[in-house]
Symmetry: C2
Subunit: 336 residues, 2 copies
């Protein structure tokens, strides 16, 4: 029998805890037979939530953690003080090999700090980047780093490029992924010191398919598979994607409702439009994995709903089955 | 009689020179009686282009400049060497008071360097930022800086906030403009050193209506009038706006064409959709002015068409009529 992939789900983090993470876990269990879910958090609350669902009881366990790390808490402090928080308990299970991955939509800073401090980095990895998939016209691209490493150095970005390549090749089955450096111009000499130095380093890397600089306007066109960038810029890209998409889609939807004529038009367009308007829904693709760690850690959106938790949990099957951590480890140990 | 606003238009810069800048100038002249246009560039070529149009000949003059600064040329070098380029000649006319403003879609770097070196900064202004208007759900917001000042310091960003406020108040008639700092979180302690320090300085400024940090996802919602950011990030925001908007609109348009049913729906929706799909068309609002200079300098998109040139030229009337440079000068001299 195939071994179950064990995913710990944080039921205390994010805007819709515990309702949405619990529902997402139940949905994931029903969707896929190869996972076992640990719901971590306050036992009584989780019990209450679960009571309304029918689910495979042999593949769900509750793990007690009474403390909660709030969104506004300073990360390092919170991790050190709240040893019995859902976040620390969950990450510790991954570290000890009791689980394969941890999914949370709680305090991002705490998850990043905790991921590196508790689950620990693969040897040779300098920083662990946060790397969500973002939709493009043609497919998806991995945006790396989108918020983990403040004050990144060129050597960090080069490692991100490498880890991103391994992710796209291993998990997304993209052959020889095209790696691009986010910059404010296409030419080699454009940009600040960080990107200029990184450009020179990436050009020399033989095992990276570096295609050069990419301007932000070309990101949605899908001309690259891995988008290498510093955390602040990556975070702005991720959130602006979401913001522009949402506003534009809302505008299209309300334009459809202004008159009887437009409503009729909307009715006729409904079948084709439904999929179209989903194209820039970032949450379709699960959460953002924290790469370069010795186990799986996935950050879901702070306002994640059940479907996002479900997708993030299912994503962990891939991380485990394809042994992403192992492959990154292999690469960095060969290098050493 | 009212004095004409004198605008120099660079006919040699950008992807569609000389066709589009010349056509844009003619359109602007027809649209507004209060402007005089100087077309700067190679006289013979401009003559040829103009021959196909009927236009008010008393308000258009050709100014000879035989050299062209190419897009790939290193800015400082190009400005110093090509004294007879359309860019240097045009900026010099503004410096000498022979014209009120210069509009170009040529080499951005050269325009930024030339603007500061030839037209010169207002006394007290440390750096001149590039500040385009970007559309939001409700109206527009000024994105400042979107590419002029590499390695900006907190004091630069504070000046950008001030100049942006003056612009929105003077040109866009926004009372007490809401100024926000682009950051990766809403809380005061979020972000890198630059934004943290800038936050503290902005909080102390009594003549700025500082509303705190803004996350990129909220930019399109229109919750702020002035978006203060460092050049690299600003440039990414501007271009991603364009990229996401374009791809999404193309998707909507092609979805409308997939079947007979959808085509019929599209036909019914046409009247309302036309305006809706224009919402994120950045070029609707003219070009990006370089603020804090002693005269008007406006950068239009490298792939600007006639309509963008026309809008950028008309924008110069506002810059002159409202005496933006004078108001910025006034503010910075009071401070001294």
């Amino acid at each position: 029998m195939r071994k179950l992939v064990r995913v710990v789900v944080d039921t205390m983090g994010g805007d819709y805890a515990p309702v949405e993470p619990v529902k997402g876990a139940v949905d994931a269990l029903k969707r896929n037979n190869h996972i076992l879910v640990y719901l971590v958090g306050q036992r009584k609350i989780i019990h209450q939530e679960l009571s309304q669902y029918i689910y495979p009881k042999d593949r769900l366990e509750i793990v007690s953690a009474d403390e909660v790390i709030e969104t506004w808490e300073p990360p390092v402090n919170a991790i050190q003080r709240k040893k019995n928080s859902s976040l620390v308990v969950g990450l510790t299970m991954v570290h000890k090999g009791m689980a394969d991955a941890f999914v949370s939509s709680g305090n991002t800073g705490a998850l990043l700090v905790g991921g590196q401090a508790i689950v620990r980095k693969v040897k040779g990895v300098e920083r662990a980047p946060l790397a969500p998939l973002i939709p493009t016209e043609k497919s998806v691209a991995l945006l790396i780093d989108c918020g983990a490493t403040v004050n990144a150095r060129p050597s960090h970005l080069v490692q991100f490029a490498m880890m991103g390549s391994i992710y796209m090749e291993t998990i997304m089955r993209v052959k020889n992924p095209r790696v691009a450096l986010v910059n404010i111009g296409a030419e080699e000499e454009k940009g600040n010191e960080l990107v200029k130095e990184t450009f020179l380093l990436l050009k020399e890397k033989k095992n990276i398919n570096f295609i050069g600089n990419i301007e932000a306007r070309d990101i949605p066109k899908g001309v690259a598979d891995v988008l290498v960038t510093e955390a602040f810029v990556g975070n702005v890209i991720l959130k602006l994607y979401e913001g522009v998409g949402t506003v534009l889609i809302n505008r299209v939807k309300s334009a459809m409702m202004v008159s009887l004529r437009s409503k009729l038009g909307a009715l006729l367009l409904k079948p084709v439009m439904k999929q179209t308007l989903k194209i820039f829904d970032v949450s379709e693709y699960g959460g953002a994995p924290l790469l370069g760690l010795q186990g799986g850690v996935v950050k879901t959106h702070g306002s994640a709903k059940a479907v996002h938790f479900k997708n993030s949990i299912l994503q962990c099957i891939q991380l485990k089955d394809q042994d992403l951590s192992g492959k990154i480890q292999e690469y960095f140990s060969e290098k050493a």
